[in-house]
Symmetry: C2
Subunit: 67 residues, 2 copies
């Protein structure tokens, strides 16, 4: 997943991102390190948060554009 890449490029901390999405900081950390997988609905929320497609978030495409 491109979470860390997207987050870093916007200079957002895990804590800010977590608060914006009503999640715990350690949850973000776990998603980024791969220790946990988000549910599909959270996956979608994260994609929306960064305004990218889910495919892009999952590194299935180089094109970030959302539909």
């Amino acid at each position: 997943m491109r979470i860390k890449q997207l987050r870093s490029s916007k200079n957002i901390s895990q804590l800010k991102m977590a608060m914006d999405l009503s999640l715990n900081q350690n949850t973000i950390s776990r998603y980024e390190t791969g220790a946990r997988e988000p549910s599909i609905s959270e996956l979608i929320r994260i994609a929306e948060y960064f305004d990218v497609s889910v495919d892009y978030l999952l590194e299935l495409t180089d094109n970030p554009k959302r539909a």
Copy 2:
């Protein structure tokens, strides 16, 4: 999710789909009825199986094209 729609349009039974993906028939049923959510890696495998984007599979776009 568009699993049922994609599966039906290709006239594939849950059992065939399950065997093709090395899953259980009831697992497919549960995904279709929403009783269970697939993991992200299975979500990706299902999208590949139907050759559609994950965004399309998740009904986030009308365009089925994969990247």
